[in-house]
């Protein structure tokens, strides 16, 4: 196996050789059995996929899919069925190829391998861009936060003011926000550790210092499984969004969502009495950079969605009873 090996073909040597001649993205390594193929996977640094028939020597493709769940598998069968296709794709196969429907089997399989390689390259490039952006964000934002924090520390030696404490607390929140943003951008960040968090306490903690706004807790709130700092950020973003769009005198209502046939909590909602969001814009608001506010960053609800997804929650938007926006967050893991 040379350094240019990009894929493994498990199956007959004759067909494997024909595929190898047609592959453009790199060299193809041939393996007679699934066991040999699995052994070869560890020896290839930059593997884009493994190609196998449904029934190569020794074992079938489903054992391969189970053994190497992180490696893209192309299932190239000589006589396919819709049942097999469904089962293969549900089991995690990257591509299902029925070779009885193509005129040149080696070329079709080689094209599938090349597509896998191209996808992987695009994915690697995207990851590199995200890492670069993450590094830029963290450096370019942390430096001014440090400078401002240093200024506050020095100013406190010259004068006393409650405003200095407030600015200091705000800078601390900004630092947390940067940390969270970087975590969201960094795919290699360790998995989020969820814990039981009382939602009512989290909501009161995250409620901003907004003297004209009103928080109305309409029902008993559930305990949720969340990572506390991210939950704080999610709630703060939701509240800030309410104030930004509905005005400083907004009334924000929060309450539990329950299943249709029981009182069991399935999530919670945050609603306001502002102008609301048009139904056709309700999915766009979760996109990064989308905003209707003149001073909005377009990050608030996008981050809410990212955090909710990380918690395995689902976010949707409806109209509130007051005609404003109602953000519903439903989850499987309400305690």
């Amino acid at each position: 196996m040379g350094p240019d090996t990009c894929a493994i073909y498990i199956g007959s040597t004759a067909l494997g050789s024909d595929i190898a001649a047609a592959v453009e993205c790199g060299d193809l390594s041939l393996a007679d059995t699934t066991a040999d193929g699995i052994d070869a996977i560890d020896a290839i640094d930059d593997l884009c996929c493994v190609v196998t028939d449904h029934d190569p020597p020794a074992v079938d493709c489903f054992e391969l899919l189970n053994a190497v769940p992180d490696v893209p598998i192309i299932l190239a069968v000589s006589n396919g069925t819709s049942e097999l296709a469904t089962r293969a794709l549900r089991s995690g196969a990257e591509t299902y190829l029925d070779c009885s429907t193509v005129t040149a089997e080696p070329a079709a399989i080689a094209a599938a391998i090349d597509r896998c390689a191209a996808d992987r390259t695009h994915s690697q490039e995207a990851d590199a861009r995200i890492r670069e952006f993450s590094s830029l964000v963290s450096h370019e934002l942390r430096n001014p936060i440090q400078k401002a924090s240093s200024g506050i520390a020095l100013a406190k030696t010259q004068c006393e003011s409650e405003y200095l404490d407030e600015v200091e607390a705000t800078l601390s929140r900004m630092d947390s926000l940067v940390e969270n943003l970087v975590d969201l951008l960094d795919e290699t960040d360790p998995a989020i550790e969820l814990e039981a968090v009382a939602l009512d306490a989290a909501i009161r903690e995250a409620w901003p210092n907004a003297p004209h706004a009103t928080l109305s807790v309409e029902t008993a709130l559930p305990t949720v499984e969340a990572e506390p700092s991210r939950l704080y950020q999610l709630l703060e973003n939701l509240f800030r969004n309410c104030i930004d769009h509905a005005g400083e005198a907004v009334t924000v209502s929060v309450g539990a969502l329950t299943a249709a046939d029981s009182d069991e909590p399935t999530g919670f909602y945050v609603a306001d009495d502002g102008p609301g969001i048009d139904s056709h814009d309700r999915t766009q608001v979760f996109e990064y950079g989308y905003t209707t506010a003149s001073e909005g960053t377009g990050l608030g609800l996008a981050i809410v969605n990212e955090i909710a997804t990380a918690f395995d929650w689902r976010v949707s938007i409806t109209e509130s009873a007051a005609g404003g926006t109602r953000v519903e967050i439903s989850q499987q893991n309400v305690l």
Partner: protein, 189 residues
């Protein structure tokens, strides 16, 4: 730390306000020197003895990386802590630094990092001193019988010094606020 007032910390950051805030955090317990560029920091190190350097990584002109390369090349015997907005990457494995703090740093974080780095330096000095005495102890016990050595006050002093350093090493290890670090040191003994 008991003798922290004798220690000198060199603070290197191109942002004057940032450097001054570090000085504010540390000046009650340490002598502090502030330099606003890598070049000025190296000149300072050439002229004055310091016990610890806090250095920013990204600075115009000579970067913190270059500063620590020079410190490493010149085999200077003090602790170095990088304080930077740059997220640590795997390259810090090869970086000749004794600590890495990510900005923004609070007063507590900075003071803790400095105290820990100086404690480690103190520990290293004690180990070196102990090894020196232990080497002499080995030579003497190989050369003379215990009865002969018992008649020498200097040998009794040597044993006493070794006991004292052993006790101080144990005491230093106990003082590390980071339990992982103190556990690691305990495993070494």
């Amino acid at each position: 730390m008991d003798d922290s007032s004798e220690k000198t910390i060199l603070i290197v950051d191109d942002e004057e306000m940032v450097a001054e805030s570090y000085e504010l955090y540390l000046q009650d317990d340490y002598n502090t020197i502030v330099e606003l560029s890598g070049g000025a920091a190296l000149m300072e190190l050439d002229q004055n003895e310091v016990d610890l350097v806090l250095v920013d990584r990204r600075m115009p002109g000579m970067s913190g990386d270059v500063v620590i390369e020079h410190i490493d090349k010149w085999e200077m015997d003090f602790q170095v802590i990088m304080v930077t907005a740059v997220d640590p990457d795997i390259d810090i494995v090869d970086m000749p630094v004794d600590g890495y703090l990510t900005k923004p740093v609070s007063e507590d974080e900075l003071v803790d990092a400095v105290e820990r780095a100086l404690s480690i330096k103190h520990y290293e000095d004690l180990i070196a001193e102990y090894n020196q005495l232990a080497e002499k102890y080995e030579v003497l016990t190989a050369e003379f019988s215990s009865r002969e050595l018992a008649n020498h006050d200097r040998f009794a002093e040597l044993e006493s010094d070794m006991d004292a350093i052993e006790a101080e090493i144990a005491e230093t290890v106990e003082k590390f606020s980071d339990s992982k670090l103190s556990d690691a040191f305990r495993r070494l003994h």
